[in-house]
């Protein structure tokens, strides 16, 4: 028996949408663009196979992640989601430099408040050193992979 309301996948592929359609739970008809991207990048059969290899309770998350990667690849055909990773790493570098500079300024101000000339001189050198440190070299476009066991458990629990 076919589903009277075809899912986005079956509508795109112009086929009947069965009640046990593997893609229907994750590609509802309300969002056709989502499946269009996924099909363009991964292919419907690849996605169906990938989802079937994943435990049922994780398939929704997997479908969402696949859709995101497909979207990023459509937006940036050269780098895809790797471009996003690279951008984030650059932002982390910039933020770390700013934080180091700000903390050095705090040290300097704190020393001034305590009116200890030696500490003031040392803190001033620290601030100058922060300015002299060359900016972080731009991250290579293909940073090292982040394995699951590298992700802090608290981050995993919070997000996933």
């Amino acid at each position: 028996m076919s589903n009277p309301t075809r899912c986005a996948a079956c509508r795109y592929l112009r086929r009947r949408c069965c009640e046990d359609c593997a893609l229907a739970p994750y590609f509802p008809s309300a969002n056709p663009h989502r499946f269009a991207c996924v099909h363009r990048i991964f292919g419907a059969s690849n996605v169906a196979r990938m989802l079937q290899q994943i435990p049922v309770e994780q398939r929704r998350q997997a479908a969402d992640a696949i859709a995101m990667e497909a979207y990023w690849r459509v937006q940036d055909p050269v780098y895809g989601s790797v471009g996003v990773i690279s951008m984030l790493q650059r932002e982390i570098s910039v933020a770390q430099c700013e934080l180091a500079e700000t903390q050095a300024q705090i040290t300097m101000y704190a020393s001034q408040a305590q009116s200890q000339p030696n500490q003031i001189a040392a803190a001033q050198c620290l601030v100058e050193d922060v300015h002299l440190v060359p900016s972080q070299p731009s991250q290579p476009p293909f940073p090292g992979l982040y394995q699951r066991d590298d992700i802090p458990q608290e981050t995993l629990q919070r997000h996933f």
Partner: protein
């Protein structure tokens, strides 16, 4: 490229490697694992179409990024690259918070010392994190944002298509 040794893709696909094989420059025969991963995740025909749509000078980078993504997805079949992105965005958020705290501390110290001094130029708050705009447009792909656990922190933005 033709010749005696077929490229890794033609070897896997068991076909003749012609002179103008689109895969040959990027999948040499001595690195078969690269094409195996890419074919498994994206499919050879999809990769071929993607490469054909790109200018020649960008294809090498595209292949490298596809290999990276395929590798990430094979290591983490559920989240792939998105897991790394969520982790990195979490780091960005934490650094932002630390920076805000540090800047507030400086202001307090300055106000305590000499209230008449001009305030320092704190421009960190004005920094725009371009990637947030990039990620916000992803919201349209969240079918059930209230139930899906895939990077909610990374994707909690407006939903222009809801």
């Amino acid at each position: 490229m033709g010749g005696n040794s077929p490229c890794a893709s033609c070897k896997l696909l068991r076909r003749r490697c012609t002179k103008d094989c689109i895969f040959a420059p990027f999948f040499p025969s001595d690195e078969p694992h690269k094409f195996v991963m890419v074919h498994k995740v994206f499919g050879a025909s999809n990769v071929s179409k993607m490469l054909q749509e790109l200018p020649l000078h960008q294809r090498a980078d595209a292949v490298s990024s596809l290999v990276y993504e395929a590798n990430a997805r094979m290591r983490d079949p559920v989240y792939g690259c998105v897991g790394a992105i969520s982790y990195l965005q979490n780091q960005v958020s934490q650094l932002q918070m630390q920076l805000a705290v540090a800047q507030a501390e400086i202001l307090c110290i300055q106000m305590q010392q000499e209230p008449a001094l001009p305030e320092p130029q704190m421009d960190a708050g004005d920094k725009s994190f371009v990637v947030h705009n990039e990620l916000s447009s992803m919201a349209q792909f969240m079918n059930h944002p209230s139930t899906s656990n895939v990077p909610q922190e990374a994707l909690k933005r407006e939903y222009p298509w809801s």
